[in-house]
C-alpha cells in the first residue's frame, strides 16, 4: 500500500495507464506529432484522424454528435466560453442569467464578470440537501432571462442535480441551458439525446485523462450560437482558435471510452467502498453526511465531525490525502461557501472533510482510513474544549464567544 493513500478524486484523478500509453504515441518523432490543421501532408491527416476519433469517443460518452464537441483547455475554459459566449451572443434578447450559489468558481466568476458588464445574475440557493430544484429554476425565470447555468454534480459535496428536469423547463421557456458536468461525466449517465441541455462542460482530468484538456458540448439541434472568446486561426468552427493538442485530445478520448465502458461496474464497486467508509465512522457521536444521500456521485462523501477542527484533523491523518471543507489554512478564514449555502454553521463547516473514492481505491485503503479517522477524531475530541462543553450539556450557541 502506497502512502499517503489518495482520497481526493474530486480534485483530480491519476491518469489511467491505458490513457498514458495512447498519449505517448503522439509525442514522438515516429509517432503522430503532426498539426491536425495541416491539410497538405500525411502528418496532418493522421493527426486529424486521431483528433476526430477522440471527438467521437467523447461524443459517445454523452450520446451526442461528434460535431457538437469543441475542444478547450479544461472545464474552466468551457464554463467561460459557454457563459460569456452565450451571454454576448444573445444579449439582444435580454441580460438576465440564472445560476446557483454552489457552482464552481469558474461559473461564479464568469457571472461576476458579466455583472460588471451590466448583466443581472440571480444566484439560486440549494436545499439543505445541496440540490437545486426544478421549481426554484422555474420560479426565477424572467422574460429577459437568456441563460441558465446549473452544475450537474457539485465538486465539494458530490450531490447530483436533476438536469433532465431543469432542461424541460428551460427549453419550454426558450432559454439556453448550460451544465457544468466536470464532476459527473463518466461517473453517472449523461444523454444529450434525451436531456435538453444546450451547453455542457467537460474536463479530462476528473475522469482519468490528462490535465489541461476539456471540451464544451454545443448543441446543433436546436442550434446554439456562441461568441468566441479566443480569436485566431478559426479552429473548432471558429468557436475556439488554437492549434489542437493532439496528445491531450487523444488522452481525453481514450479516457472517455474507458469511462463509458466501465461506468456501471465501477459505480457499484465505488459506491460499496463509500458505504464501507461511512459505516466505519457513523457510530462516532455527532457526525453527519453533508448533501443528499441518494442524488450523489458514487465516490463522494463529505462528512462533518462536530467539535474537531478540519485542518488539525487532516494534519493527524497524514497517511490520507483528503481535502478540508475548512479554509482556515488560507489567508481568509472563510469556511466553504458550498457548505454555508447548505445552512451549515461556520463551526460545522470548519469541521468537515471531503473524501472522494475512485478507480484505484481498494477495500484495504478504506479500512485503513476508517481506523485512522476514528482514532484521530477521538484523540482530537479529547483535546477539544467544545467536546467537553457538549458532553456537559452546554448549548454552544448560547455561549458568548470572544471572536477575534
Amino acid at each position: 500500500m502506497n502512502k499517503p493513500i489518495y482520497f481526493d478524486y474530486l480534485a483530480t484523478t491519476p491518469t489511467d495507464p491505458r490513457v498514458v500509453e495512447k498519449m505517448t504515441t503522439c509525442l514522438s518523432m515516429e509517432g503522430n506529432f503532426g498539426n491536425p490543421a495541416s491539410r497538405s501532408h500525411v502528418f496532418g491527416w493522421k493527426a486529424e484522424e486521431a483528433v476526430e476519433n477522440a471527438r467521437r469517443q467523447v461524443a459517445n460518452l454523452i450520446n451526442a454528435d461528434s460535431r457538437e464537441i469543441v475542444w478547450t483547455s479544461g472545464a474552466t475554459e468551457s464554463d467561460n466560453l459557454a457563459i460569456k459566449g452565450a451571454a454576448y451572443f444573445y444579449k439582444g434578447k435580454g441580460r438576465h442569467i440564472l445560476t446557483s450559489s454552489i457552482e464552481h468558481k469558474a461559473v461564479l466568476d464568469s457571472c461576476r464578470q458579466l455583472e460588471r458588464e451590466g448583466y443581472e445574475v440571480t444566484y439560486l440557493e440549494p436545499t439543505s440537501e445541496g440540490l437545486i430544484t426544478c421549481e426554484s429554476v422555474a420560479n426565477s425565470l424572467r422574460d429577459d432571462t437568456i441563460l441558465v447555468s446549473i452544475m450537474h454534480a457539485n465538486n465539494e459535496i458530490g450531490t447530483v442535480n436533476d438536469i433532465a428536469g431543469i432542461g424541460e423547463i428551460t427549453r419550454a421557456a426558450g432559454v439556453i441551458f448550460h451544465v457544468d458536468a466536470a464532476q459527473s461525466a463518466a461517473k453517472v449517465p449523461i444523454d444529450m439525446d434525451k436531456m435538453k441541455v444546450d451547453l455542457l462542460s467537460l474536463s479530462a482530468h476528473k475522469m482519468y485523462g490528462p490535465k489541461g484538456i476539456g471540451a464544451l458540448y454545443v448543441r446543433r439541434k436546436p442550434r446554439v450560437r456562441l461568441e468566441a472568446q479566443m480569436h485566431g486561426g478559426g479552429h473548432e468552427r471558429g468557436m475556439r482558435s488554437g492549434t489542437l493538442a493532439t496528445h491531450q485530445i487523444v488522452g481525453m478520448g481514450e479516457a472517455a471510452a474507458i469511462g463509458m465502458e466501465e461506468m456501471e461496474s465501477e459505480r457499484d464497486r465505488v459506491m460499496a467502498l463509500r458505504e464501507r467508509l461511512w459505516l466505519g465512522v457513523k457510530d462516532l457521536e455527532a457526525v453527519q453526511i453533508n448533501g443528499d444521500l441518494h442524488q450523489r456521485l458514487p465516490g463522494a462523501l463529505n462528512i462533518s465531525f462536530s467539535f474537531v477542527e478540519g485542518e488539525s484533523l487532516i494534519m493527524s491523518l497524514k497517511d490520507l490525502a483528503i481535502s478540508s471543507g475548512s479554509a482556515c489554512t488560507s489567508a481568509s478564514l472563510e469556511p466553504s461557501y458550498v457548505l454555508r449555502a447548505l445552512g451549515l454553521s461556520d463551526e460545522l463547516a470548519h469541521s468537515s472533510l471531503r473524501f472522494s473514492i475512485g478507480r484505484f481505491t481498494t477495500k484495504e485503503d478504506v479500512d485503513l482510513a476508517v481506523e485512522q479517522l476514528v482514532h484521530s477524531v477521538e484523540k482530537l475530541r479529547d483535546l477539544s474544549p467544545l467536546w467537553d462543553m457538549y458532553k456537559d450539556g452546554i448549548d454552544l450557541d448560547s455561549v458568548q464567544w470572544a471572536a477575534h
Partner: protein, 127 residues
C-alpha cells in the same frame, strides 16, 4: 503546508491536556476564540499560596499550530508568578515554534488566553 518539528511534537504529544475546577478560588480560566472562527482555546492556571503558578491545563479546538501554541504555553507558565506569565508575548511562542506568517494568529490566541486566565484569577482573588 509543512509544520515545524516542534509543532509536530506538541501536536503529537500535547502537554498538560485537561480541565480544572473553574469554581476553585485559586484557579483562573481563560477561554478565547470562537467556534465560528475555527479556533477556541481554554487555558487554566492554578496558583499556590505565594501566587506562583503550580499547574496549568489546556484544551484547544483549532489547527495544529493553535494546539501546539497552547501546549507550549502551559509548559512555560508553570513556576512563573502572574505578572511574569502575563509578560509572555505571542512573538516568543511563534519564534519557538517557527510558525509561518499565516499561523501567527494562533500564537496571538495563546497570548490572549494566558492574559484572560490571569485576569480571571485576579478578579476571583479580589485584587
Amino acid at each position: 503546508m509543512a509544520y515545524s518539528d516542534k509543532v509536530l511534537d506538541h501536536y503529537e504529544n500535547p502537554r498538560n491536556v485537561g480541565k480544572m475546577d473553574v469554581d476553585k478560588k485559586n484557579v483562573g480560566t481563560g477561554m478565547v476564540g470562537a467556534p465560528a472562527c475555527g479556533d477556541v482555546m481554554r487555558l487554566q492556571i492554578q496558583v499556590d499560596d505565594d501566587g506562583v503558578i503550580e499547574d496549568a491545563k489546556f484544551k484547544t479546538y483549532g489547527c495544529g499550530s493553535a494546539i501546539a501554541s497552547s501546549s507550549l504555553l502551559t509548559e512555560w507558565v508553570k513556576g512563573k508568578r502572574l505578572d511574569e506569565a502575563e509578560e509572555i508575548k505571542n512573538s516568543q511562542i511563534a519564534e519557538e515554534l517557527s510558525l509561518p506568517p499565516v499561523k501567527i494568529h494562533c500564537s496571538v490566541l495563546a497570548e490572549d488566553a494566558i492574559k484572560a486566565a490571569v485576569a480571571d484569577l485576579r478578579q476571583k482573588q479580589g485584587d
